[in-house]
Structures are given as structure tokens and as C-alpha cells.
């Protein structure tokens, strides 16, 4: 099958598929004419019921909390899969070579990059922590905060300090932190069951002021656990990929 024939067959197929797709989409009520009652109902009662002014996070961690448990475990499984595949690849290739043989800074990192990266590590980590802890007040939440927190660690690597990156995020510690995050979320739900409510019921005190950091019960706590789990997953993934690139350098290749 030549590439031209493959392309022609694809174009015919995609034209038919998109015709059906658009036929279905144009029978929706149209952009901006949202008809369904569920969104309006949630907007009206969420602040009163949960004392959380960030309704999206309230939906994520309370009204649809069970979906979020599933999504978080997809993330956890993907990070574990990356670690499994790449660590086995590394063990096949390294064969006991000492990691101290790898130098500190990769060649070609200029001082400007190093300075800029090191300057931003602190503020980015603080910003990630702010995002992960303010899920119930403003547009933020565990997922975004976790990724920003992981970016702060990656900046250390970008500044050329690979050994510092490894020392600050050793593989065992990151594995356990990720596991604590994932298990913590499930454990909060189970605690609700133990106390006699349904799974993931909001059993902590809801606070008095809607939108304060200490209000909304389990939403803030779940957001914290999700934040550390997402951060650990991304640090794990980036760490494994970085070790793979160092294998390339140690084989005598270029940077």
C-alpha cells in the first residue's frame, strides 16, 4: 500500500466520518444556548451546601468526587507504568555503573539560563502550593497546583544541577509521596464510610465563611492530597526521562 493510496483512503473515510459527526453536533442546541438544568442547579446550591465559592472544585471533589478518584488513579497508574518501563530499560543498559560518573552541568547551559532558573524555583514552588491549597476559593485546585509544583523541581534540573535535582527528589521519597497522595484520597472516602456516611461524604466541619481557606470540609483536604500526588507523579516521570538522557551522554554521545 503506497502512501498516496493510504492518504486517499483516509481522506474518503474521514469525509464520511466528519459528515456524520457534524450532523450529530449541529442537532445540539447551539453554542451558548445551554439548556440542561444540572449546571444551573449546581451553580445555585453549591455555595450554600459546601461553603466553597469555587464551584468547579466543589464539583470535582464533592459532587463528582468518585470520578476524580478514578482519574487520579489513571494518573498514578500512568506514572507507575513510565517508571516500570524506563527503570527496566535503564537496568538493562547501566549494569551497575556508578551514577557519580555523570557530571554536574550538561555542556551548553549558559549562566543566564542557570541564574533565571534558580531565581524562579522558590516563587514557582510557592505558587504551586498556593494553587493546591486554595481549591475552594478561586480558580485553582490540586491538579494545577501539583503540576506547577513539579515544574519548580524541574527548574532545578534546567539550571544544570542534576545532582541537586536527584538529591532533592530521590526516587524512593517521590514514590512514597505519590503513594501517600493517592492513598490519602481513597482513605478520606473510606473514613466517611467508617463514620457511617456514604463514600466521600463531606464529614469535616464546613466552616462559617464561604470561600475561606479553612472552609468547605473535605474539599480542601482532598485538593491537598491530589496536589502532592500529581506533583510526585510528574517529578517521577521527568526524573526517569532525565536519567534516560544521561545514559545517552554517558555512552560517549554529544549533549
Amino acid at each position: 500500500m503506497t502512501p498516496a493510496l493510504r492518504r486517499g483512503m483516509f481522506l474518503v473515510g474521514i469525509a464520511g466520518f466528519l459528515a456524520f459527526y457534524l450532523w450529530g453536533l449541529t442537532r445540539l442546541p447551539g453554542f451558548g444556548r445551554y439548556p440542561g438544568p444540572y449546571g444551573f442547579v449546581v451553580n445555585r446550591i453549591a455555595v450554600g451546601q459546601t461553603n466553597a465559592t469555587g464551584v468547579v472544585s466543589a464539583v470535582n471533589f464533592e459532587y463528582r468526587g468518585f470520578d476524580t478518584v478514578g482519574e487520579e488513579f489513571i494518573l498514578f497508574a500512568a506514572a507507575t507504568g513510565v517508571a516500570t518501563v524506563l527503570r527496566r530499560l535503564r537496568d538493562e543498559q547501566e549494569g551497575g555503573r556508578s551514577r557519580a560518573a555523570f557530571g554536574e552541568s550538561p555542556s551548553g547551559t549558559t549562566d543566564a539560563i542557570r541564574l533565571a532558573s534558580l531565581v524562579f524555583v522558590g516563587p514557582v514552588a510557592l505558587f504551586g502550593w498556593f494553587l493546591a491549597s486554595h481549591a475552594q476559593t478561586s480558580p485553582s485546585g490540586g491538579f494545577q497546583g501539583g503540576v506547577v509544583l513539579a515544574t519548580a523541581f524541574v527548574l532545578i534540573y534546567l539550571a544544570g544541577q542534576f545532582l541537586a535535582f536527584r538529591r532533592v527528589s530521590p526516587a524512593d521519597l517521590i514514590d512514597s509521596v505519590g503513594a501517600v497522595g493517592a492513598a490519602g484520597f481513597a482513605a478520606i472516602g473510606l473514613t466517611a464510610v467508617v463514620l457511617g456516611f456514604a463514600y466521600l461524604y463531606n464529614f469535616l466541619p464546613l466552616g462559617t465563611v464561604p470561600g475561606a481557606v479553612s472552609s468547605s470540609g473535605t474539599i480542601a483536604l482532598i485538593s491537598f492530597f491530589v496536589g502532592i500526588e500529581v506533583a510526585a507523579a510528574f517529578i517521577l516521570i521527568v526524573g526517569e526521562l532525565v536519567e534516560q538522557t544521561l545514559l545517552v551522554r554517558a555512552e560517549g554521545g554529544d549533549k
Binding site: L18, V56, T68, I74, V230
Partner: protein
């Protein structure tokens, strides 16, 4: 205007699939898969939009202001982060394929055996 987002969604889907089908590099295919996934984010956010409404955050606006649908936003935001981790898993498989077979061309990978 009321159907333009859906046409854009269909276009992005078609372009991404075209990139996957006519690709000669595994990482290029993975990036085109990211493009296809982004079309679904635009679709569900477009479905939940209310004309003239604001974002559903009632920190400093009165509670009964008309706001857009928060449920689809919750779905989209977890979706974005989780798909990044799944993309990392696909990249790990691509690295392993490169190590085993020495090539990242999908046309050649089909003919090699383990």
C-alpha cells in the same frame, strides 16, 4: 456563530487524524494524538457555555449571577492533566521501541518481529 465551535472541533479532529495516518515518526504521531485530544476539550467547553454568563466562581459576585456550566469544566480540567501522564507513558513505550528496533518509523516497525 452558534455552530462555529463545532466546525472547528471537527476540523481539529480531522487534521490530527490526518497527521497520525501520514506520519513517519512515532513522536510526531504522539503529538498529533495530543492535538486530537484537545479537540474534545473545545467540544465539551463549547457545549457548556451560556451566552452572556460569567465564570462559576462566586467569590466576589452575588451567588445568583448566571454562570456557565461548572460540570464540564471539572471534567475538562482533570482530563488535561491526566492525558499528559498518559502521553508520558506513550513516550516511554516509544523509547523502548527505539531501543529494541533502532528506528521510530511506524512503517518499518510493522515489519520487524521481536
Amino acid at each position: 456563530m452558534s455552530y462555529l465551535p463545532f466546525f472547528v472541533v471537527a476540523w481539529i479532529l480531522g487534521v490530527g487524524l490526518y497527521g497520525i495516518v501520514t506520519s513517519r515518526h512515532l513522536v510526531h504521531q504522539i503529538i498529533c494524538l495530543i492535538v486530537v485530544q484537545s479537540s474534545t476539550y473545545v467540544l465539551i467547553l463549547g457545549v457548556g457555555y451560556v451566552t452572556g454568563a460569567v465564570a462559576p466562581y462566586f467569590y466576589d459576585i452575588p451567588v445568583h449571577t448566571p454562570a456557565v456550566d461548572p460540570v464540564v469544566q471539572a471534567l475538562a480540567l482533570t482530563d488535561v492533566v491526566v492525558e499528559a501522564a498518559v502521553t508520558a507513558l506513550l513516550l516511554a513505550f516509544a523509547i523502548q521501541a527505539h531501543k529494541r528496533f533502532g528506528t521510530l518509523d511506524p512503517h518499518e516497525l510493522v515489519q520487524l518481529k521481536g
